[in-house]
């Protein structure tokens, strides 16, 4: 593997994978991977199905313990940090989060305050203010009393992002937040995530399938294939015709996005 990793110059590293090997049972999915995520960055992890990008995100969110190496949150091994401490700094949104039947949006968002609460202090005025603000900011106030299972896919994703916002973490990991959404709602959700980054200063890591949307919203792309980090850098650096052939086995043209100027992939055909 060539040293494509381009460590940023001055910004502090918040979250890092240090030689992590990940797998399930005997199967190794990600082999000895290094990755550094700096404060205030917006990173999208891309790659073909089964390349290990979701597995990597799970490890970054301490849902999966590496079999070798370690994940460092603010320089400290995440697996040896109390999980409640981690939950105050790092929030995560699983790919298909499960909301119990009958739960309202307000209840869901309120649950984001869990790491800040104790048995004695179950609902402080702080909690209330933060939840109200999160609902307002994600434009979910009117739906606050609706059951989550009665929402459309796009609304539901907004509700979950609202919960992540209420958790009040500096870092936010999202696993394919646009799955099952139509294009308009994909854009809507990514706009919201983008605003979390620009307006709220969140450090965001997102696993995405859509390369054009990834290039448009993320500052940095990380491309993976077969559990190996192939390229990392700005969208323009990563999304080259050569890389698309190598990583996605796709012959494609890369043209400037007419709206944002970011690289846009126009597929030609599958290679092989």
């Amino acid at each position: 593997m060539t040293a494509l990793e381009s460590p940023s110059t001055t910004a502090t590293v918040r979250l890092a994978a240090d030689g992590v090997r990940l797998g399930y049972g005997d199967k190794v999915v990600v082999a000895d991977l290094d990755l550094q995520l700096t404060d205030g960055s917006f990173t999208a992890i891309v790659g073909p199905n089964g390349c290990g990008k979701s597995t990597l995100l799970r490890a970054l969110g301490r849902l999966l313990r590496p079999t070798a190496g370690s994940v460092l949150l603010d320089g400290r091994a995440i697996t040896s940090t109390p999980t409640k401490e981690v939950a105050k700094v790092l929030g995560l949104l699983p790919q298909t989060p499960l909301a119990p039947e009958g739960l309202t949006v307000a209840d869901l968002v309120a649950r984001g305050r869990h790491p800040h609460q104790s048995w004695l202090r179950q609902w402080s005025s702080d909690d209330e203010a933060v939840v109200t603000e999160a609902l307002t900011w994600t434009d979910m106030v009117e739906l606050a009393d609706s059951p989550v299972d009665a929402l459309s896919g796009g609304q539901r994703q907004r509700a979950w992002i609202s919960m992540a916002l209420a958790q009040g973490t500096d870092l936010l990991l999202l696993d394919e937040p646009t799955t099952y959404l139509d294009l308009a709602h994909q854009v809507d959700v990514l706009e919201l995530v983008g605003r979390l980054h620009t307006e709220r200063g969140r450090t965001v890591v997102v696993v995405l399938h859509d390369l054009n949307l990834a290039a448009r919203y993320a500052q940095r792309l990380v491309a993976m294939k077969d559990g190996v980090l192939i390229a990392s850098g700005t969208p323009a650096e990563v999304l080259t015709e050569q890389l698309l052939a190598e990583v996605f086995e796709l012959e494609a043209r890369v043209v400037p996005d007419p709206v944002t100027g970011t690289p846009m992939v126009v597929p030609v055909r599958r290679l092989r």
């Binding site: 799970r58 969110g61 301490r62 849902l63 999980t83 409640k84 401490e85 981690v86 939950a87 105050k88 790092l90 929030g91 995560l92 949104l93 699983p94 298909t96 989060p97 499960l98 909301a99 119990p100 039947e101 009958g102 739960l103 309202t104 307000a106 209840d107 309120a110 649950r111 984001g112 869990h114 790491p115 609460q117 048995w119 004695l120 202090r121 179950q122 609902w123 402080s124 005025s125 209330e128 009393d145 609706s146 059951p147 299972d149 009665a150 958790q167 799955t179 099952y180």
Partner: protein, 363 residues
């Protein structure tokens, strides 16, 4: 993605979350979460009073209530407190324990059809109890068991079986689905052992064993009530303390971990408490059918919200067992085991839940 086609009507009566803040303590509640348990408690007291008054020497509800607050004449006091109260106390305690146990298991498994039965508690307890009844004092092993007494054998059987289910299902944490499947497998094996013991038994022993397997309050008194009361004294506060974590746990393991819950620990404590509650209840009155399965689902429909409320489930469980016992003793022949009545109420409800099964079920 879960299949979602909920034709659920939007919350008909808005019941907004209210905030309670006293000193350093703060919590939220909804009105129905307070009103429903209180109403159930009132009905429970009335049902218990009616039950305490029925028998060969009928006493009016008012007189029973008078006795309960310390008044009434000596005869009434003796009959109500001395003769009838122990049985009703066992009914209340068994129902409470089973209701809370069911609520814990269903929240943990995220499955409205889960109950302590699938954790092997019932099957193991049945093996222990039937072994004592059938083998009597014929072998050294059973003499040892018999020395412990039937409730102790049932308790030991239930806990051992649950431990086995737990051990086989544990895989770097507990998966609700895996636990259910292991529980069903081992329960089937326990049933086979029970059947084997029954075929080897005399007809008298088989009849006694059969009543025990159904769940009965006949002949139950303070000897059964006391251990169960002590167990509840410890396990009830633990259950209520778990409530906050259960609120996060119901979202699925990943989200719960993301919220800072130590998922394997929380799951283990939840299951252990639920198993212990069920095992003590079963050892006192036998596996009273369907209480743990049905009551949490009734409770959640009465209070609203997204998971079975523990306190309301406990009170409703007590009400179901007391009321079923009342029916068994007054409408039906005296010896009818209470488990038959709870089944008659429970089975149709289970079917109704299954028919409505197009609603999301995680299993």
């Amino acid at each position: 993605m879960t299949a979602v086609a909920p034709t659920r009507a939007p919350a008909a009566r808005p019941d907004p979350r209210r905030t309670l803040r006293v000193g350093g303590f703060s919590a939220t509640y909804r009105r129905r979460q307070l009103v429903v348990p209180l109403l159930v408690l009132v009905v429970l007291v009335l049902a218990a009073a009616v039950s305490l008054g029925r028998g060969d020497y009928p006493i009016s509800v008012l007189d029973v209530l008078r006795v309960l607050v310390g008044a009434g004449d000596d005869t009434q006091q003796f009959i109500v407190l001395g003769l009838r109260a122990p049985r009703i106390a066992v009914a209340v305690l068994v129902g409470t324990a089973l209701g809370i146990s069911g609520a814990l298991i269903q929240t943990f498994a995220r499955n409205p059809l889960a109950s302590p039965d699938i954790l092997g508690v019932t099957g193991g307890a049945a093996v222990g109890a039937v072994a004592v009844i059938v083998l009597g004092g014929t072998t050294t092993a059973s003499r040892l068991l018999g020395g412990l007494g039937l409730p102790a054998a049932a308790l030991a059987g239930g806990l051992l079986m649950a431990l086995l289910v737990f051990g086989l299902a544990w895989n770097q944490g507990l998966d609700g689905y895996r636990l259910v499947l292991v529980g069903i497998g081992l329960s089937a094996m326990a049933l086979a052992v029970v059947r084997y013991l029954l075929t080897r038994s005399t007809i008298q022993d088989a009849a006694v064993a059969n009543v025990w397997i159904t769940g009965s309050l006949n002949g139950r008194g303070w000897d059964q009530a006391l251990p169960l009361a002590l167990a509840l004294l410890v396990l009830l506060p633990v259950s209520l303390a778990l409530s906050r974590v259960l609120g996060a746990l119901q979202f699925g393991d990943d989200t719960a971990r993301g919220l800072g819950v130590r998922v394997p620990l929380a799951q283990a404590v939840t299951v252990v408490v639920a198993v212990a509650l069920a095992a003590f209840a079963v050892s006192a009155a036998g596996p009273v059918q369907f209480v743990a399965l049905v009551v949490p689902q009734i409770a959640v429909r009465l209070t609203g919200g997204s998971r079975p409320p523990l306190l309301a489930a406990g009170l409703l469980g007590a009400l179901l067992v007391v009321a079923s016992d009342l029916v068994a003793r007054t409408v039906l022949p005296e010896t009818f085991p209470v488990g038959v009545v709870t089944s008659v109420v429970g089975a149709p409800y289970l079917l109704w839940l299954l028919v409505r099964g197009r609603r999301r079920t995680t299993l």
